[in-house]
Amino acid sequence: MHDQAISLRQRCLNGWRRLERGLDAAFGSGLNPMRHLGSIGLLAFWLLAASGVLLYIVIDTSVAGAWRSIDSLSSWPLQLGVLLRGLHRYAADALVLAMGAHLLREWLHGHERGVRRFPWLTGVPLIGFVFISAIGGFWINWDQLGQFSAVATAEWLGALPMLATPLARNFLANEAVGDRLFSLFIFVHLGVPLLLLFGLWFHIQRLTRVAMLPPRPLTLGLVTTLALLALVWPVRSAPPADLGQVPALLQLDWLLLWLHPLTYATSPEFTWVLMGAAALLLLALPFLPQARKSAAPAVAVVDADNCNGCTRCFVDCPYAAVTMVPHPNQRIGRLLAQVDADLCVGCGICAGACPSSTPFRRVTKLVTGIDMPQRPVSAMRAQLQRDLAANPAARPLVVFGCDHGVRSASALSSGADDVSVCNLLCAGQLPPSFVEYALRDGAAGVVVAACREGGCEFRLGERWTAQRLSGQREPHLRDAARGERVELVFAGPGDEAGLAAAVQRLRERVQAIALDPDLPHRIQHA
């Protein structure tokens, strides 16, 4: 049963990746919205906050005046009121869609477990906050839809056993709804979003360089789409609320108000149980046993003798797992990296950032300042030396590939005897000097295969790799080593053909390069 669930998840993940690749064709991998779902959700939240503040300034927050003041937005010049109102509503819809897709994507990638359990668990309550905020917003309009939602919510809450008086009694007659009750509506619609913002702070607390907005072209595209939608398909009020009548026909926002019809189609008790079970399931997912339990990744280890306190690992760590502390055995002012095991995901990006990871150091055993025990740089260097020495081709190629990206071995399974594959925990684990080392140790060309832009399993690995190889980030690949003999390819899972094509391109290029016979072919290994 559990195996079936896993294979179902894997099948769904494969489908998701196909969808992402399909959207890459239109947006390009760096701007693919499916890889920016969290920041799209944040964009929707900022749109809601900005439009909400403006609406709060202009609307009358009283029972008698709310409907009229909101309805009068449609008479603003240049359709500005329509735009403002539509943006507010449609941004809420976009937030729900982005949030749902973000949740699904993270689950499909297995990000609910391990170190990433914290953002998962802190994300679950945010779902509730989003829906409470959204539903509360309909009440403020106090039209028939708001009336229906307020009464339905009160009846739903009335199923809870701890309430002495049914909340729905507040909506028995029009006279029962006063400005005091309306103040509660306002409090819910303003207070819960503040809680949401506070919860978001927890949600992203263990991440560094969180994108508060999607990339600019994507932001522009989404905002323009929502603005056009607001103008083309304006949000209108239903007739004013009248508690003596049940609205016969409602244009329900199914993305935000689906709970009400579900409750009336079943029962309040059923939906409470359903919501509770869903919340419990989401909260329990990180703790459920796994049929094929994968060992927790080993965390980065600092070697004080080889750490010079340069802070590059601290700067590059995507999970804020590295901090800098005073070096215990060195002069005042010198720093030492320190790894928080509870935060480290074991990606190795820190090892790739460490200047001591250079394979050119003439030591028998290469020990770097910060390293991954499961795949240390010394083992990487030794493997590279062995593979190049054993490679029979006149112009051997080396592929540095990521464990989570394209499957290099299967991509190059046939007709690629000239290729040596070196697997990494993440492309970001590769110290750029390894590229130059490979070239000077006999490789005619080097391919670095990182995940598609924005698709790194560890958030920033592909970006840091590209910047290091292009000289924009330290440690950088020396100018002398850059050029036609190095190929960087962004190839995620399923992109085997792309990697094979990149290797073929490089193979053809290096065939045309005349190797200088006077240069020493191999480095003298220690």
Binding site: L23, A25, A26, F27, G28, G30, L31, R89, Y90, D93, A94, L97, F148, E155, A164, T165, P166, A168, R169, L172, A173, R209, P215, P217, L222, T224, T225, L226, L228, L229, V232, W233, V235, L243, G244, Q245, V246, P247, A248, L249, L250, Q251, L252, D253, W254, L255, L256, P261, Y264, V315, E453, R463, A466, Q467, S470, G471, Q472, R473, E474, H476
Partner: protein
Amino acid sequence: MPEISDRPVRKTPAIGPGRWLGQLLLYGLFALVIGVFSQWPPYHHLQPDQALIKLSFTHVGKPVGDCRVPGAEELAKLAPHMRPTEICPRERSPIMVELDINGVNRLRRSAEPGGLSKDGASAMYERVLVPAGEQRIAVRYSDDVRARATPYHRETTVKLVPGQVLVIDFNAEKGGITIQ
């Protein structure tokens, strides 16, 4: 030494007409999903020929037993300033309510008093869907479990239009059961 940069390395390649069209279609699809499901399909909360009766009250029932005058021996055990003239049970009666529509019983419920000592108000909120049109409504209401208690009773004929909400409440100050 180059400065550390967070910027993406690759500039976004020039977008060809195919990609423009693809993006346009996908943004359009996104807008369509939001636009459609933010108001469609329309929702009918009630059938076109239905009305709604809401039976709701919050009311403190009568004590479950009679008050009694304490005996002299009982009073003697108490300090002089603590001697009551009568002792009443704290617990309140549950409230029984019945609703008949056109002679057919549609609701029979008992609302327990609130509080750990069952000395609080009983409350109820029930929805009963009925066909629109003329309805003979009879409500019986008892807030006293003692044998001599006489239930409140009210019977009336109402004409309900589709979608109308009829509220049946209890207000002792207004004589008991109210229908409006």
